[in-house]
Amino acid sequence: MKTFVIDPDKCTGCRDCEMVCSLYHEKVVNPSRSRITIIRDPLDGIELPIICMQCDEPVCVLVCPVNAIYENEHGAKIIDYTKCMGCRTCVISCPIGGALIDPVSGKTIKCDLCDGEPRCVKFCSTKAIEYLDVSIANQRIKRNTIERYLRALKSGRV
Amino acid sequence: MAEKFQARCLNCRNRFEVEKGNEIAECHHCGSKWRISWVTPEQPKVQGPA
């Protein structure tokens, strides 16, 4: 089983992930159509990646009135567009902002793990987003936390 | 034997070897002595004169 590991401290705000996500899924570069979103404000110093975490017990699957969301072999929760009626219930209910609306096509969209090889991860040069086996992910998350602490310690900020 | 990595000497502009983690190193071409900083654990660089 694999999962995303996200470390906002490593996100530089370059948005290669958004550009390549739209390119992979829509064949065009258009960050506003990306499944991954970087909440970003360079003036306030914020770079925060938001993406569907492919929950174990996904709210989106539960609430979809037409059962349009299913799980594929990679554990991705996928929208079946032959069923989806675009009611946005999943968009509204997802507590982490994983489902969204493509502002161009109007379709409800979400991360589908690019057939097991998320393109955002490939393009993330700082490893702010990784896609790892859960046992490794646990270690990585702890390591990120400790590194953050050590950095703060070194800079005299704690 | 400690691992060695290369840095460029600012005086003769040749590459010289620095032992892993060392903060001072001497260019074996021209004898200049440099303070070294590490860009990565494998990449030393001249920071200034020693």
């Binding site: 550009m19 506003s32 003036l43 393009f123 040069s125 | 005086n11 502009r13 860009v39 200034g48």
Partner: protein, 632 residues
């Protein structure tokens, strides 16, 4: 298609906008970005137009590859007739404005006229709206961007704005996007201010279609990896441009106390790049960049405690560092942040301030002229003088008009101490020991500058067969040589023009590192994105055409060979300090003349540096023909 972006002709006096397609023919001749910007200015701004006249154009351009996930394509080109030089005024800005402008449907904005009252432009989904900016006038560059985002109600709005300096038409005012991204050079912010144009904002949802998405994705990733595998990019990723300080202060090519010395020596140790790390919060990047050369920093203690900022770059380490005899990161960070908010080119500002300090040392300026003493190392004096320049107070009002006008006012030989070419201040590097660098700042179309042709790799003394393969000519490896360096500079002038016309980041080009992507890599990139096929020779020809057009603009505006010389000081005074091979070096006039002649020949220009008729016709450059459409 990537090519399906428009050009908007905007007349601020009339409040009217006309949008047009960009003909494929023009793409083939100029690509985009810097190249196309100068096509519009060359044809439409005649020599009688003064920089602050409404008839001057202010042109914004996205590169042909801007807004793609590779090679730092967050770049925007801003061009105009410069108040400092009365010739080419041109700046290239990082950040995220250019991409968003493309997503909003536009590749180029050609702006003329002057709005009656302050306005800003809002571009979205193929439309240009001229909006009232009365409430923004007087705000700094950060406040302005925040206010615009709030007003439009969209976090993803990007804007390029001017601050106080641009409003006051300080000749070296700049244009800013985000925290620290500057269209720094050429005084573009002053021209924007003269048009009563406070900001340009954009937000777009228009797809950038790529001709071969699969191949492009694969190749883009490969490009990023090629860059990241270099030692150069690894160093830049960690230290940012301050990495250059360690080299320049150790070797001895960093202007110190104006350009009296070429290094502070051990006094300058506190400014070593590694010492910036302790201020760091995290690394940030321009859009499309995998290198992230920017630091977000915070000052925790002391006089400037609480400052949170982005940068500073190497430029600031001269301006508020060695040039004025201050060796304190706190001060460099603080000054940098102020400059960013004022919207002023910190590089030019530093050169002008340090000049004033030297004039004070030489008693050409006195306490009475300034209002206080200008003593080397006095941080408060530096900051106060900077503030006076931005606000055009007292002597600041004179200094705000740049070297040429100010030195006429001050007289007494003050011009000699002003380090500039064509009226455009130099970066604080000291070029007198490196002939190729000296030629580069001298021939640069925008005046003294390090980003128009600097063959930084000349310092590495690369093997000559390697150089021959890279440049296509036999180039001397010895960086102190003059012979063949005219050709080297020529090559980089063309190449950097292409880099700016494509909108990729120079730090990810063959600038400081010969292993970064260049022509051979741009060819497939262009094919996979635009579907257009170019050969290396064709790209170089475009570079030559674009460059010659800028040269012609300068020539038509009265410049010529006389303006192709580095500052006189670099011929007169030898380097007093530095490593043995740098100490005692200065430029040799005779050899310089030969290098310049070789450079002219290489471009196909005559002995006076004027492109020959044959060269012009080969490049299909005619006399200017106005083509700004009717906007009634």
């Amino acid at each position: 298609m990537v090519l399906n972006r428009k050009v908007a002709f905007i007349d601020l006096s009339k409040g009217k906008v006309v949008t047009r397609d960009i003909p494929l023919e023009l793409r083939k001749k100029h690509l985009g970005g810097r190249g196309l910007n100068w096509y519009y200015i060359y044809n439409n701004v005649s020599p009688d137009v003064k920089p602050f006249d409404p008839e001057n154009l202010f042109v914004v351009g996205a590169g042909l590859l801007t807004g793609m996930p590779m090679l730092g394509t967050g770049r925007t080109q801003i061009s105009t007739k410069s108040p400092m030089t009365n010739g080419v005024g041109d700046a290239n800005m990082g950040g995220a404005f250019g991409p968003e402008m493309r997503y909003s449907g536009f590749d180029h904005l050609v702006i003329r006229g002057r709005a009656e009252k302050p306005v800003y432009l809002f571009l979205s989904d193929g439309e240009v709206e001229i909006r009232d900016a009365k409430h923004l006038w007087g705000l700094d560059t950060h406040e302005t961007q925040r206010a615009i985002k709030e007003e439009i109600g969209d976090e993803r709005v990007e804007s390029m704005v001017i601050g106080k300096a641009g409003e006051k038409r300080v000749y070296f005012a700049n244009v800013m996007n985000g925290n620290k991204n500057a269209g720094g050079r050429g005084g573009t912010g002053a021209v924007m201010g003269s048009k009563n144009l406070k900001a340009i904002a954009c937000r777009g949802l228009i797809d950038l279609e790529v001709s071969d998405p699969e191949k492009f994705m694969e190749y883009a990733l490969q490009m990023n990896e090629q860059v990241l595998s270099t030692k150069w990019a690894k160093t830049l990723s960690r230290l940012g441009t301050p990495l250059l300080y360690d080299v320049s202060y150790t070797t001895g090519f960093i202007g110190t106390k104006n350009w009296q010395y070429n290094t502070p020596g051990s006094e300058g140790e506190p400014l070593e790049a590694e010492n910036l790390q302790k201020y760091m919060i995290k690394h940030v990047a321009c859009m499309g960049c995998s290198v992230h050369c920017r630091h977000r920093v915070k000052i925790d203690r002391g006089k400037y405690a609480g400052v949170v900022a982005e940068g500073p770059e190497y430029t600031m380490m001269g301006s508020f560092g060695t040039l004025v005899g201050c060796y304190d990161w706190d001060f460099v960070i603080k000054g940098n942040d102020e400059c960013n908010k004022w919207g002023i080119d910190n590089l030019s500002l530093g050169a002008v301030i340090s000049w004033a300090f030297e004039l004070y040392q030489r008693e050409i300026l006195t306490e009475k002229d300034v209002g206080f003493r200008l003593q080397w190392g006095d941080q408060d004096a530096v900051l106060e003088l900077a503030r006076m320049i931005v606000n055009r107070e007292g002597i600041g009002d004179i200094l705000a008009n740049g070297f040429i006008e100010a030195s006429k006012k001050f007289g007494e030989g003050s011009e000699y101490y002003a380090i500039h070419v064509k009226g455009h201040p130099d970066l604080h590097t000291d070029e007198r020991g490196v002939p190729s660098f000296a030629l580069g700042i001298a021939t640069s179309t925008r005046g003294a500058d390090h980003l128009r042709s600097r063959p930084a790799i000349d310092l590495f003394q690369l093997p000559e067969d390697f150089l021959e393969k890279l440049i296509g000519y036999k180039i001397k490896s010895d960086f102190t040589a003059y012979e063949t360096k005219g050709i080297l500079v020529w090559w980089f002038e063309l190449y950097f023009n292409i880099v700016d016309s494509l909108g990729v980041c120079k730090f990810q080009s063959t600038f400081n590192c010969p292993h970064c992507p260049q022509y051979d890599e741009y060819i497939p990139l262009l094919k996979y994105t635009t579907g257009m096929k170019f050969s290396k020779e064709e790209l170089m020809q475009i570079g030559e055409r674009n460059y010659t057009m800028e040269r012609m603009f300068n020539i038509l505006n009265g410049m010529g060979k006389k303006d192709d010389y580095p500052p006189a000081r670099f011929f007169e005074e030898a380097n007093p300090r530095g490593l043995p091979f740098m100490k005692g070096r200065k430029l040799d006039r005779e050899k310089y003349e030969e290098m310049l002649a070789e450079y002219y020949r290489q471009h196909g220009w005559n002995d006076d540096g004027i492109p020959t008729d044959e060269t012009l016709s080969k490049l299909e450059i005619g006399m200017p023909e106005k083509n700004f459409p009717e906007v009634e």
